[in-house]
Symmetry: D2
Subunit: 339 residues, 4 copies
């Protein structure tokens, strides 16, 4: 039984709490901390048997019974809390991104190296634990598509975030496409070497005024020479559109959207099937539980997390390369972004 | 918080226990009883915090703290335990079928009527809580297919049971098609008035020697005049094939199989997608949790279960009509089977 | 080059004429005959270079240059014209059914046997030449589904015929389901031994008043013991619904509807794909050309037509068995219908 | 009745001849010319009733009965023959591309303007007449996807051409992607303003040695600000992969591959459906007939061809922009390519 503390009780913190309560019997949540903890959230935590309900995360770090923490606070606190947690001897599961700055990611890594204890550090790229993407990757690794020649990810949100959110998000590449950049690598088994990013404000002018774009594409070249494409939109009115394909010398593996049912209704209007599941909480719920389970497995079995600091760092370098490419209107090599 | 006892710790008893532990926080399993409880099962029950682990189900019935029981024992004990549980003042969730005899079902009903307490009695037709069938029924009830004119259910198991199982199962109509007969009614919103059943031994001669068939069809007429068809097979090598369609004056609603992923792989061999989920535990897991949750909702909110004794009785009458039809090689009206 | 005469210039006669003109360069239409030939049809025939345009089909039979005739006149004339054509030494392609009476079919057969010449006689079961059904049959013959255990055909028209048509059509079994009964045999490679037919008037009361039904099902048993089901409707508002499936010990082969395009449109309303092609002229156009080509191939290469008199006779016996079963409300064995 | 001459009797010339013979009764092929006309081709032409069979195309141009010519000769002769045909007063259907040089396209245009007669000039972008792409465009024009924000075309050949062919083809952008660039514009209803092209040799090193690439992507920006992506491969082992999607403010329209049948076979191996139709002759056969029919319609009704010289010119400018972008490794604006 692993004792856990959750830092940050917002939407994703609650998702992880529920995952553990309903599907990870080998872990027990001893405490949860959030400076803005609502009455409702506190009552819920009490009801499900979480004994420590704090405003200050340091109370979690100081509890010697707690072996592992989940960092679900706001992005700008991830690196600092990661370092403190490592120094307190805790295993860390940190929501993505670790930080938008490569320097601060390096500081987390340094803390991890400096630690005397064999601590696990996992970054929350939940899509790596999704059933569809895992099926694609398994097919690729099994050689079913042969040598990878082309990869594509289409990723579209069902509704655009408010411009206020966008301002602090790091922009579409850092906030949204970071998942898709990670998927290109995960699905193909290769790294991105060069990319060209385009962006446009086509959905909400307020997003443009906030200095961001709401539609974006990336054209990339992978380390094995393969080509790759990503398309992103902040608003697909029909729901969360999440598709991918890996093409190679022996074939092509594609994944389609998940739906709430397989029902198809034929009328004079047409043959109508269900829209994609609405958004990430619906679509990726199972993957959130799977990644948390994997984290505790790493602790229990002393294995390395599938998504460690290096994956977190590469995704930030790629997002920075996208921003640079869009700003300078030219292809950018990953090597231009200091490690 | 509703205190629950589970009677019968076999496969389905454990499914319900897990459903409650992981997804029904408003219920607490106080005890589990099984005369053949394995060491492993007992250890598991202890580990998940079930305090009472008994061989005799009467210990559960005698515990005044327990408000509701789940009857998951062998079919021949359902009616007797149902009656005792009702007499002990417990709400009852009983696995299907209540009994293969209409007399014993009547006895259960009599006990329920005799009870002074407002007890809930739900029968385990889990498919009524399945996302695909619910979507079909919702479309039908919403009038999307207009007046129902035709209903079809295809239901095929991935592997035939051992002939030994078949002998005590009541036969394919009682054991397997009972679900599909219930689905015809559930999906169409109408009752079956007449049916013609055919059976054949095409898969395993031992099933024939045990007096049963392994392949069957039913051709039926519903109370609104609509026609209906069912096909059953004990062995679809590609997995659990579970499809339905409702056709009417304004259109047609169909449901297809669920799969483990949406991955599609195109090679020189063809375009290959995933097989159906393997069997009922994979395919209907979510519906098991949903039906249990619905049961506790009925208790908490004092509403009538969606699937009560009457549904359980009709399904048995229909299965008996099928057996009679196959034996006498003629269509049989439901009214021929005494209520 | 084979010289052809077409008897009957209605819808199906024109379909065959166009098939030959546009896709069967090895045949030349010398003449067309129809007592009710419209001005438009005559003008069209002249324009496409058909030299003989007659009211009386006997003029075609008397033309010694004509080797083959296509009989596309009304059903009640098929047998008589077949016999005269055979006696005139012509190869015959006869639209289905040859006749609704087994005696008259026997007379055609007798004429064919009496003929000194090696004449070909093909019946117009065009669905045997359809790409989807051929793909199913090919899979079955190749052993991909193993031993056949179950066959199903769903066949629904997009709009009900006028009650006036129904009266002279021989009824739904003779007019519509005859194709599906043939498909059960064609797809499975086995004969129907016994069947139980149900009918209902659910669409148009006038059809009932005309003594027919507009919805029907058949539950059958094949010669190898396999079970089979057919469902028919005279009106599927979403278009011509034509699907089939063959299930066996090694798998299942299914065919779905053809559509005008593969376009799929996702909006807030749902994910909408195209409806089935509207009716038989759209859906089966390619098969009409294929059957005619096959007929000329048989003549050119002196091979037996894939669909000869025997297939025509069996389909009528099956339709008669359906009528008897519905009337007597009991399963009927094919052997009850005199050969 | 329009009298036609076909210049070039290779594969595509024969496709057009057959289209006319079997589906365009309002046109008559008077002559065919090809310096390398095979014995077989000549025999076939004679058999189908083409009276003039020449080695020199000038004989066609000199025939005053011929009103329209189809130019199906090698690409390097298109412009010269176009000019001569226009000067001879013939309507022209010219296979794509008109020429790889913008100067020579301008010369054709000048000839057309100089002509006193009201001649029609259509370029062979057959995909604009394909049922799937027309369905997508119709949906877009009908406003079903709202304002276009993103367009994607995936286009993959089933087998790479010999390196020898590649050398004279103008390269992948001029030879293959030219269709897809045209599709971006056709489907979206907007022009391409800027693009970034990437290429790679991943399939056949001989193609690289011939100075070309066998895999390519384009990332583009359209005149309305929308983003667009294309991916090309010379070899998809599973067949001709031709898909497109148009995404906008109100939804998304996608097209999928056509197949030879709708058959789906489920076995222990998986659920297998048909591969895409093998290559362009199978996949686009109907569109070839449709474009030829549209050409004759323009002549008959004196309307402008849907695909005129301007479309031909833009596609060449786009292909040249792709080549420049790949060579200079930077995004290129269409305005950089002289009109």
């Amino acid at each position: 039984m692993i004792n856990v503390g959750i830092i940050g009780a917002g939407r994703i913190g609650q998702v992880h709490a529920k995952s553990i309560l309903t599907g990870v019997p080998e872990a027990r949540i001893l405490a949860i901390a959030d400076p803005y903890l609502s009455e409702t959230a506190a009552a819920w935590a009490k009801q499900v048997g979480i004994e420590g309900i704090y405003r200050n995360y340091k109370q979690i770090l100081q509890d010697p019974r707690i072996e592992a923490v989940l960092i679900c606070s706001s992005t700008d606190t991830h690196a600092q809390i990661s370092i403190e947690a490592i120094e307190a001897g805790k295993h860390v599961f940190c929501e993505k991104p670790i930080d938008q700055s490569l320097e601060r990611i390096a500081a987390v890594e340094a803390a991890l190296r400096a630690s005397q204890r064999n601590l696990k550090y996992q970054v929350g790229f939940n899509r790596r634990f999704d059933h569809n993407y895992r099926a694609l990757r398994a097919a690729v690794l099994a050689g079913k598509v042969g040598e990878v020649q082309f990869v594509r990810v289409s990723s579209r949100d069902p509704e655009a975030p408010p411009a206020g959110y966008v301002a602090g998000s790091g922009g579409i590449f850092m906030d949204m496409m970071i998942h898709d950049l990670d998927m290109l690598c995960y699905l193909s088994g290769h790294e991105i070497e060069e990319l060209y990013a385009q962006g446009a404000v086509l959905i909400d002018p307020a997003i443009g005024e906030a200095g961001d774009v709401d539609s974006a594409t990336v054209s990339a070249r992978l380390s094995n020479g393969a080509l790759a494409l990503i398309d992103n939109s902040r608003k697909a009115v029909y729901g969360y559109d999440q598709r991918a394909e890996v093409f190679g010398s022996l074939g092509c593996a594609q994944s389609y959207n998940d739906t709430a049912s397989t029902a198809v209704i034929s009328t004079v209007e047409g043959v109508v099937s269900e829209k994609p599941l609405w958004f990430f909480l619906q679509r990726y719920m199972v993957s959130y539980q799977a990644e948390i389970r994997a984290f505790f497995d790493c602790i229990a079995n002393d294995t390395e997390p599938e998504v460690g600091i290096e994956s977190g760092r590469i995704s930030i370098r790629l997002a920075l390369a996208c921003k640079k490419s869009m700003a300078e209107q030219r292809p950018v090599r990953l090597s231009e972004i200091a490690d």
